[in-house]
């Protein structure tokens, strides 16, 4: 699949405070990224077997306990294909954690002025 048609989208909710700016889905075309970064994400998707993951991953502990934990929704669109996975902290798979941090970095660009 050509890099031209791959779009990555990340949204997050929960966490110690509500940040509307971070909750808003942020997306990036792989082709818009520097080559090195785009390749890293492609590898990350492969290593985490992202396309094979179920709709919800992680969470670990009991649902009725805990507070301030964060949830992410990571979506990859490749042309007509689209796969979306909800990641609940703590995310235990190291490949998936790596992918998440790569995508976070790629989609969270500060606007000018800062």
């Amino acid at each position: 699949m050509s890099r031209e048609h791959v779009r990555i989208q990340l949204s997050q909710e929960g966490g110690l405070a509500a940040f509307p700016g971070l909750a808003r889905p942020r997306s990036v075309e792989l082709s818009e990224l520097p080559t090195e970064q785009a390749e890293a994400i492609e590898h990350g998707l492969r290593d985490a077997r992202f396309r094979e993951l179920p709709a919800v991953v992680g969470g670990g502990g009991s649902a009725s306990k805990g507070a301030d934990q964060r949830r992410y929704t990571l979506t990859v669109e490749e042309g007509p294909r689209r796969h979306s996975v909800k990641l609940v902290e703590p995310v235990e798979d190291p490949h998936l954690r790596e992918l998440l941090s790569l995508v976070k970095r790629a989609t969270r660009r500060r606007g000018g002025g800062h």
Partner: protein, 376 residues
């Protein structure tokens, strides 16, 4: 009972059986009441006694958990370094009795847990998260550039922040106290972490978080900044903190983070499915009510307002889906129980009224603020 009394002969409080303490709590002077309640608060059987209508209830909790009437401080802190991993258990870097380990986040967590433990013990007579000396475990350096801190049901976890939006999460004492207080609320209550009940849970953590900081700094209600997480936002971010209890909605307005979404009045209540039904959003309303009560009373916020809120969250009438209006009524009853019908109960009522919740003699009402359903 006999064994308990024998074990604690050194303290005058321990000579008094619970029913007598309860009687002081109900009929004593305000000063006696607070003293008696402080003592009884360390005994989990009090919850059963208080609402047994004079009958001594054989509560299962009194059997399950050997109550500590008066014990010495049982601070037991352990700080673990996760070294950038998100996998537990990490490496133990500092435990109780040891001096600074040299890692800034670890030492901040250690000191923060200490200040929070001391607050609950010295001000509220509570021995740790579970009231029974539960060891405190904090994990620092969780993940790489991780922008969060959380309570996972038994431990507190802190990220380093990405440095661009957030600094390390141990930088703010009130954030450490916020996380530990989640443990207290979870231990005390059945509150769901969802919608209004979840926002009350969040608000309790902000209340205690702020009080721990205020007490350490020696700030009165007027001197306190009433911010949560001051110093946590990185340079260049347009904002001063995560939340403002004094003026919800004004803590930040940044091109990346967005604008602080907290309402400070029921008319602005946010109905949403995100953030567990807006638990970190609508907590602004009870936060501001607490601020209002504390500033009306003046002086140290932890002395009267803090105690009233603490008694309220321990009230057996707290149910999983407690709404703001239920909680408001319970704080009014707590104020009356602790201090009689004086300025305290008036301050609490006025504070709730200011955020759109009216507690009258026998009922509580939320005037129609748009689509808000008081019982929804």
């Amino acid at each position: 009972m006999l064994t308990r009394r024998r074990r604690h002969v050194h303290s005058i409080h321990c000579i008094l059986p619970p029913y007598l303490l309860r009687s002081i709590a109900e009929n004593g002077t305000p000063r006696q009441r607070v003293k008696a309640l402080r003592t009884v608060a360390t005994d989990t059987t009090f919850r059963a006694l208080r609402f047994a209508g004079g009958r001594v209830a054989a509560s299962s909790s009194s059997v399950r958990r050997l109550p500590a009437m008066m014990v010495e401080s049982q601070r037991q802190r352990s700080i673990y370094d996760l070294k950038g991993e998100e996998a537990f258990p990490g490496t133990l870097v500092r435990s109780e009795g040891q001096g600074p380990c040299g890692d800034l986040a670890a030492d901040e967590a250690f000191d923060g847990l200490g200040a929070t433990y001391d607050f609950f013990w010295e001000v509220l007579g509570r021995n740790s998260i579970d009231g029974d000396g539960m060891p405190l475990q904090a994990y620092v350096h969780y993940g790489r550039g991780y922008d969060n801190a959380f309570w996972d049901g038994r431990r507190m976890v802190f990220g380093d922040g990405d440095g661009e939006l957030f600094n390390r999460f141990t930088i703010a004492l009130d954030v450490i106290a916020h996380e530990l207080s989640h443990g207290v609320t979870e231990d005390e209550g059945p509150l769901w972490y969802f919608q209004q009940a979840g926002a009350l849970n969040e608000s309790m953590s902000d209340v205690f978080g702020s009080l721990v900081k205020q007490r350490l700094l020696g700030h009165t209600a007027d001197q306190a900044d009433w911010l949560i997480g001051a110093g946590l936002l990185a340079d260049g971010v347009e904002g001063q903190a995560l939340r403002s209890m004094k003026e919800p909605g004004t803590a930040f307005d940044d091109d990346v983070l967005g604008k602080d979404p907290q309402p400070g009045h029921m008319r602005d209540y946010v109905t949403t499915w995100e953030d567990n039904g807006g638990v970190h959003i609508n907590s602004g309303i009870p936060n501001r009510a607490f601020y209002g009560a504390a500033t009306r009373l003046g002086g140290n916020a932890w002395e009267r307002a803090g105690r009233i809120w603490y008694e309220a969250v321990r009230d057996p009438r707290i149910t999983p889906d407690t709404h703001f209006s239920d909680f408001a009524r319970i704080t009014v009853m707590s104020a009356t129980r602790l201090y009689g019908t004086g300025e305290e109960v008036a301050a609490v009522k006025e504070a709730w009224e200011e955020v759109g919740i009216r507690v009258s003699r026998d009922r509580v009402s939320v005037p129609q603020w748009g689509s808000v359903q008081p019982g929804a």
